[in-house]
Each structure stands twice: as structure tokens, then as C-alpha cells.
């Protein structure tokens, strides 16, 4: 072991272990979470090839009733976690995340406007809700980022986080207003959705969010090593051959896309974007070539687990999953603040 570390950086080996470990965790979550629910089903039965699908009740419950929701959780969890990693590295601020920067709130407002006013169009293969959500997150990010650039404070925690908190409050007020003028049944749906809810009952909404998600992942795939260098300083990254402007563009647009896709599917599920990257770093260290894929996999697994709790804790009542992630993530976030202070 020691000898091996002497000759190579060990990053190959760590990458294999990280992908293997977190990959197995995410896969286990995807396979086992759908087994739990009002009717117990067995995995052996689900994948029993001797029975035709038409008469295999377990398989139908698995694939039709429960898997869409689990896959939605996986998509949302990984997107929010990835966006969190990218914001933290790029802004050199461990407390940055879609929630704290107000990007989730921007995405929520965009999505809510599209839902409330029944906007129905597609652009470049993106349907209206994810698109509006993306526009909202990009606009919110531009405001907070612009604020910190204009103030010449670089990426100061104070400006970014106070800006994010203020923006979130402001956007919440706008959302309150939209609800106030919307009709009553619409309001109930909106309120539930704003808590962060994975009430996804078919593959349709997932397919809608898939395009922006895949686009954002293509952007993220270019970033891992560059994020290491950017997290040490943009000036030093530039002197090491990084195209800083291009990197910032790719990173911020991809993170906004991912946040937009996640929020359009499940509402602003809180704390995943900040808690997952930190928990992952405790296990794999700071290298973004490990942190980025591990956060995607762990984000998926964690949100699937939270959603499992949300739909079983008070069964047959289903809690919005955002309540579970907030109850879990809030204390972790406070602990992070305490540790930094």
C-alpha cells in the first residue's frame, strides 16, 4: 500500500474506490427504496422472468407506481448536490449552495410563474417549466454574483450569503403575491410544491427534466480538475493555464441548469446542495475529481432515503420531502457554521 503511494498519486485507486462505493450505495437505494410502501413487494419477484409482466403485480408496482418517484429523487438529489459543489468551489465559499445563494428561490419563482399562467411551449427541446425554472435560477445568480462583483468584495461570504438570504426573502414575497392572485386549488398545489415534494407519479415529468439535466452534466464533466485550481484562487488558476472566464461561464450556466431542472421537478428541496458536498468531502477529501461524481451519487442516494422517510413515516400520509431534508440538513448546516466560526 505504502509502496504504491510512493510511485503514483493514488488518485486512480481512490477514484475507483469512490465510484465503486458511492455507485453501489446509489444503486442499492434505487433498487430497494421502491420495495417499501403500502404493499410490500420482493425484488426477486420483480425481476422474475418466468412470469409475464402483465400478471406480475410486484413488477408493475415497482416500475409503474414507485420507480418514477425514486428516479426523480435520484435526478433531483444529484443535480442539487452537483450544483452545490460547483458553487462552493467557484465562489471559494464552503457555505455557497443553490439555497443560500437564492438560486433555488429564483428557479422556484420561474417554475411557479410557468405553472400558474399555464405557459406551455418548448424551446430547443426544453419544455416550459424547466425552461422558466432555469431562467429564474440564472437571473437570481446574476443578481447575487453581480452584487459581489460590483462591491469588489470578490466572493466574500457576507455579500454572497446576505445577498442570497435577501433575494430569497424578496422572491418568496413575489411568490406569495402570485399565489394570492392565483385561484384556490392552484394555491394548494403551489404551497405543497414549494415545500419540496417528489409527488411524481409517471415518467413524463422526469423526461421533461432530463434534457437540461444531461446538458448540465455535460458541462460538469469538463470541470473537476479546473474546480480544484479555481478553489485555490482564480488568479492562480489563470497563471496555471485555466481559461477562467470560460470556466466561470460553463460552471455557472451548468449549475443554474441543474438547479432549474431539479426545482422544476420537485420544488426547492432544501439543504441537499450544501450538506451533500460537505459530507462527501469528509469521506473522499477535497479533490474535485472525486468530490464531483461522489456528490452526484450520494445526493441521489440521500434524497431517495429522505423521500422514503417522507412517504413512510406518517403513512398513509405523505410528507413533502423538503420537510425531511430541512429537518436533517438544518442542523448539519448549523454545525458547519459553528465549525467555521
Amino acid at each position: 500500500m505504502r509502496v504504491n503511494e510512493r510511485s503514483t498519486s493514488g488518485v486512480h485507486r481512490r477514484l475507483v474506490f469512490t465510484l465503486g462505493g458511492f455507485g453501489a450505495l446509489a444503486l442499492a437505494a434505487v433498487l430497494f427504496a421502491p420495495l417499501v410502501g403500502g404493499t410490500s413487494i420482493s425484488l426477486a419477484q420483480v425481476f422474475d422472468r418466468s412470469q409475464p409482466y402483465g400478471s406480475n403485480i410486484d413488477a408493475q408496482i415497482f416500475f409503474v407506481a414507485r420507480l418514477p418517484r425514486v428516479l426523480a429523487a435520484a435526478l433531483v438529489g444529484s443535480s442539487l448536490a452537483l450544483a452545490g459543489v460547483v458553487f462552493q468551489a467557484l465562489l471559494r465559499n464552503p457555505l455557497a449552495s443553490p439555497d443560500t445563494l437564492g438560486v433555488s428561490a429564483g428557479a422556484s419563482l420561474g417554475a411557479m410563474l410557468a405553472i400558474t399562467f399555464n405557459a406551455d411551449f418548448t424551446l430547443f427541446g426544453l419544455s416550459s417549466v424547466p425552461l422558466a425554472s432555469f431562467a429564474g435560477s440564472l437571473a437570481a445568480l446574476a443578481i447575487v454574483y453581480g452584487l459581489s462583483v460590483v462591491r469588489r468584495s470578490g466572493t466574500s461570504t457576507l455579500v454572497l450569503l446576505l445577498g442570497g438570504v435577501t433575494l430569497t426573502a424578496l422572491l418568496s414575497a413575489v411568490m406569495g403575491f402570485v399565489q394570492f392572485v392565483a385561484d384556490f386549488t392552484q394555491t394548494f398545489r403551489n404551497v405543497r410544491w414549494m415545500m419540496g415534494s417528489l409527488d411524481v407519479a409517471s415518467y413524463g415529468p422526469i423526461a421533461g427534466a432530463l434534457v437540461p439535466t444531461l446538458l448540465s452534466w455535460a458541462g460538469f464533466a469538463l470541470l473537476p480538475r479546473v474546480l480544484d485550481l479555481m478553489s485555490v484562487g482564480s488568479e492562480s488558476a489563470a497563471s496555471r493555464g485555466v481559461d477562467v472566464v470560460r470556466t466561470e461561464r460553463i460552471a455557472l450556466v451548468s449549475a443554474s441548469l441543474a438547479t432549474g431542472a431539479a426545482v422544476s421537478l420537485a420544488g426547492p428541496v432544501p439543504f441537499i446542495g450544501i450538506v451533500v458536498p460537505h459530507l462527501v468531502r469528509i469521506v473522499v477529501g477535497a479533490d474535485h475529481r472525486l468530490v464531483l461524481p461522489a456528490s452526484a451519487l450520494f445526493g441521489a442516494a440521500l434524497l431517495i432515503a429522505c423521500d422514503l422517510v417522507a412517504r413512510t413515516a406518517l403513512a398513509p400520509l405523505e410528507l413533502p420531502v423538503g420537510i425531511v431534508t430541512a429537518l436533517l440538513g438544518g442542523p448539519v448546516f448549523l454545525w458547519l457554521l459553528f465549525k467555521r466560526a
Binding site: T8, R225, G233, R240, V242, G285
Partner: protein
């Protein structure tokens, strides 16, 4: 006549545009021979950092040329330049908990393909850089827990792993106490002597400059006030013109170099 390793000709730079345009450098000429140590002295805002940023390729000059080994910087790609020239900033703060070895391996970035992982040769280069800056025993330590002097030596090691041709240091000892200042100076002297690394260092520390640099360039309000061999340039007259300070400049026998003692600020 051979061309110098680094050649700066008629350089000008300004921040901002239109009415907000603020000239920082003008008519700057500079020659740096391979294997030499050159000091940049000048008051705050005199353009030292801007000049270093231009040589590092982070900023583009408004006018004039910079040539490295006879080739204009503008014809080198970002990565190509990064494999030749490395920068050590005044202070480095890692946002995340990188190990010392990880910090140094980041210097290999311009040498690797976009998705290439560091191999055995990169490890060897990184370890040699750590060894040359006396930080090899720290390689598994967390960078964030090091002292200021240790951090700065690790950052110098990362710069060496990146490019050993030309090292640019921007006030590398400004945040350090006396002992660490001396350590950094010794490391730089040793690198210059054993590796032949060419070094340009900006500093406010006259005595460090006198001890370390064979040549000095004095910058005032974006222009070169004087340039040449340290013993010719470091004079009371020049210091008065540069800082408006009366200073004693004497040769120190035990130290073996000139020393500067400020006596009075001129009104």
C-alpha cells in the same frame, strides 16, 4: 549579442476605459537574463503587481511586447506559457482541505490532458519540488494547518512543479514574520543556485532585495525610475526619489550585502 530570457519592450497598461481609464504602466523596458534574480521595488500602486501579471500572461498589455526566449507571449497558448512561467502570490488560502501533496500536484495542470490523471513522473516532479523547498516531510499534512512560512514554501514547490524556468513572486514575504521571511529567502537563493531558476520578485523589503537580487528595477508611478545591478541601483538618492525617504545604505560585513536603514520621511 544574445537576446535576454525575458524581454519587455515599451510596455503600457491601463485599467478601466474612457474617463475611468487609469494608466498603471507606461514605457516599461525590462531585460532579465536566464538564471538571474531580479527584484522589483516601488511604492504601493507603482505597478509592480500589474507588471508581474502581464509577464504571467494573466493580463494583456495595452501596448508593447513581452518576449520569453525570443517568442512574443501573445503567440504562446495559456497552457504553453503556464509550463514556462509560474506565479507565487503573497498569500494562498485553500478553500478546502487539500493535502500538501495535492496542492503541489495542482501545479502539473498545464502538463496534463483535460482528463489525464497524474502519473508516476508527475509524482516524482512534485516530490523533487517538495524536497527542494524543504517541505517533503509535510507532504501528507493538511495545507490549511501549516504555518505561513510552510504554506509559502509549499506554494513555491507547486510553482516549481508547474514551471521551473521563470518564477514570479509578488511580495512573497509580506505576511510572514522574520524567521519565515529568512526561510523563504534562503529557499529562493538555493533554487537559483542549484536549479538555475530565474526569479523575479516584487517586495517592499529592501534588505531582502539586497540579499537576494543581483539586479533591481525601481518602479515609480508605472515607469522605470532606475534599473541595473543591485549595488548600482540601491543608493540613497534613488531611495529618496522612489519613496521620499532619507535612508542610509551600507555594506554589512557579516551579512555580505547592502543594508538599508530609513532615517527620515521627507515632507
Amino acid at each position: 549579442m544574445s537576446t535576454p530570457f525575458l524581454e519587455v519592450r515599451d510596455l503600457a497598461f491601463a485599467y478601466g476605459r474612457g474617463a475611468a481609464r487609469r494608466g498603471v504602466l507606461s514605457d516599461v523596458f525590462l531585460d532579465v537574463e536566464r538564471g538571474s534574480v531580479v527584484g522589483l521595488l516601488g511604492p504601493n500602486g507603482s505597478g509592480k503587481t500589474t507588471l508581474l501579471r502581464i509577464v504571467a500572461g494573466v493580463l494583456e498589455p495595452a501596448a508593447g511586447t513581452v518576449r520569453l526566449d525570443g517568442r512574443p507571449l501573445a503567440t504562446l497558448s495559456r497552457r504553453q506559457l503556464a509550463t514556462r512561467v509560474a506565479v507565487v502570490p503573497q498569500e494562498t488560502r485553500a478553500t478546502f482541505d487539500f493535502s500538501v501533496l495535492e496542492m503541489v500536484l495542482m501545479g502539473r495542470y498545464p502538463h496534463l490532458g483535460p482528463f489525464e490523471l497524474e502519473g508516476a513522473d508527475d509524482m516524482e516532479i512534485a516530490r523533487r519540488a517538495l524536497d527542494d523547498t524543504g517541505t517533503l516531510p509535510l507532504e501528507q499534512r493538511s495545507f490549511a494547518t501549516l504555518s505561513g512560512g510552510e504554506k509559502q514554501r509549499v506554494v513555491i514547490a507547486a510553482a516549481l512543479a508547474q514551471a521551473s524556468d521563470l518564477l514570479l513572486l509578488d511580495e512573497p514575504t509580506a505576511a510572514l514574520d522574520l524567521r519565515y521571511q529568512f526561510e523563504i529567502m534562503s529557499v529562493l537563493q538555493r533554487l537559483n543556485a542549484t536549479r538555475g531558476t530565474t526569479i523575479i520578485v516584487s517586495t517592499h523589503d529592501m534588505n531582502l532585495a539586497a540579499a537576494l537580487c543581483q539586479r533591481l528595477v525601481l518602479l515609480k508611478q508605472g515607469q522605470v525610475l532606475a534599473a541595473g545591478r543591485t549595488e548600482d541601483v540601491l543608493t540613497p538618492e534613488n531611495l529618496r526619489a522612489l519613496y521620499d525617504v532619507d535612508a542610509d545604505v551600507r555594506f554589512h560585513d557579516r551579512a555580505g550585502h547592502l543594508t538599508v536603514v530609513p532615517i527620515a520621511a521627507r515632507p
